[in-house]
Symmetry: C2
Subunit: 258 residues, 2 copies
DNA sequence: CGCACGTTTGAGCACCATCAACTATAGTGG
DNA sequence: CCACTATAGTTGATGGTGCTCAAACGTGCG
């Protein structure tokens, strides 16, 4: 997997599942239909079971790919729920806005992970998703997902499981915010990223943070200076080594116990 | 509604929808089938749309009522998901346990509110629900819910909306934990309770806290002494008046702005 | 009544936020 | 290629918020 990271073109192709000629059709302006079959991330895609037509499911979800540049929004708070999304490549953040301008990052989404489920309750997006780097996202029309879910039990179960997983994930964050010290939170954040990268086939011990210290702080409920200090402290303890945004985890078991 | 609170028997009957003779059949040991039709809380029941048989839905969910004494568990962490629950009467807390004994209260459930959705992802309950006072809960067999959801679109939509609402609710809590001061959190907690009591027909300005200061603290991410101090401060400011667990909100608009 | 428990209030301290200075890095244009 | 700038990150000094420890005060119950 690491070799792919060193080969930018092959890596891009692997993640997007698009050959250069297909790639030309995929733009912000004109999303193109692309088959799940060609998607390199399919094995790890949370939405894959919704996309593919199973033995007993002749119809598969028509998936459009869309490019989103770093800093652009996948969707905005208040937007009506038209689509759900999966990241084919790239990382995004989900921001929840508050009345007085305060905001909180409720989560980061890596490649293969699902976005937008907060909108299902009200029909409007409660958060907004901003790309932290250039992304390719799969656009999953919500109406079609609903239709599929109406027709096929396993799709329905999949949706429910993903919603419930999100509840469990947020409950874990609540625990973190309510009980853990700043150092413990940062350690838990790194362990979580490590686990998720490992799940997607990347190195669990060396990765690049796609988000700033301030964004990490907003997610964990602390200030950017504190994040920086805790990184330094973990480094002094010999648990991690970091140069800028590049993290190497030197002692993962110990980091889990912080 | 307040008159009902003064008449204990009528109130109990109203909330449980059980006449005394029915009531005798309802015990922890032997849950009895009770129809949603007789339930006084039905209009406010989050699960009502799952229970009742609509025009196009001949089959309705067989609902059993169960009594749970204060301090007893509705379900425990690790229990396999067999049922979802609605509180017919009484308040519960949802606790999430942590490896080292630390724990966090992820929420309180009032009468009419749903319990147990955290189990759908894994098939086992991630939290445990403990009654804060004597409760009557509706036991909704998960398999039957699934079957109903497979058969009827509106049931499926209802389930998804409830799951998504839970995500939005927890995201709000995350915001609270990440950004608000102790005083702001306590104020927000009271406002939330006020809104929910109002929704269920009770007074928005006078109610009794069913949980201890420590439980409030565990929910809001602070210590019980701090909760007490913040209550005192809000009282000094003239926003609330409290005697023990009885709260009167003197200036709700101001409390919202804290 | 006495005991247990929940709650309130106080004093001192630790942790994290704030303010501020400095460094590192990347991007821009001469 | 190098200055120049802007942005991100690190580190230090200081203060405030909330935690810890502790004592006193109710309130309910056996």
């Amino acid at each position: 997997m690491e070799t792919l990271q060193t080969d930018a073109l092959a890596f891009s192709e692997f993640m997007t599942g698009l050959t250069p000629s297909q790639d030309a059709r995929v733009s912000s302006a004109a999303p193109a239909r692309v088959p799940c079959e060609g998607c390199g991330a399919r094995r790890l895609c949370q939405a894959a079971q919704l996309c593919r037509g199973g033995d007993d499911r002749p119809v598969s979800l028509p998936v459009c790919a869309r490019k989103v540049k770093a800093g652009e929004a996948v969707y905005r708070a208040g937007d009506p729920l038209r689509n759900l999304y999966t990241s084919r490549a790239g990382t995004s953040k989900s921001i929840r806005l508050y009345r007085d301008g305060r905001q909180q990052i409720t989560g980061f989404q890596l490649g293969g992970e699902f976005l937008g489920m907060d909108a299902i309750a009200t029909g409007r997006h409660q958060t907004e998703a901003i790309a932290l780097e250039d992304m390719v996202v799969c656009v999953l029309p919500y109406r079609e997902i609903e239709a599929l879910a109406d027709a096929y039990t396993d799709v329905r179960r999949g949706m429910e499981r993903m919603l419930s997983q999100e509840i469990v994930r947020e409950a874990g964050l609540l625990m973190l915010m309510g009980n853990l010290s700043a150092e413990e939170r940062v350690a838990a954040f790194l362990v979580d990223l490590s686990d998720r990268y490992a799940e997607r086939g990347y190195s669990a011990l060396a990765f690049t943070l796609r988000m700033s210290r301030e964004e990490i702080g907003s997610h964990l409920g602390m200030k950017l200076e504190t994040v920086s200090r805790m990184f330094s402290r973990l480094q002094q303890r010999g648990l991690i080594a970091l140069h800028g945004k590049d993290v190497r985890i030197l002692d993962l078991p110990a980091l889990r116990l912080v």
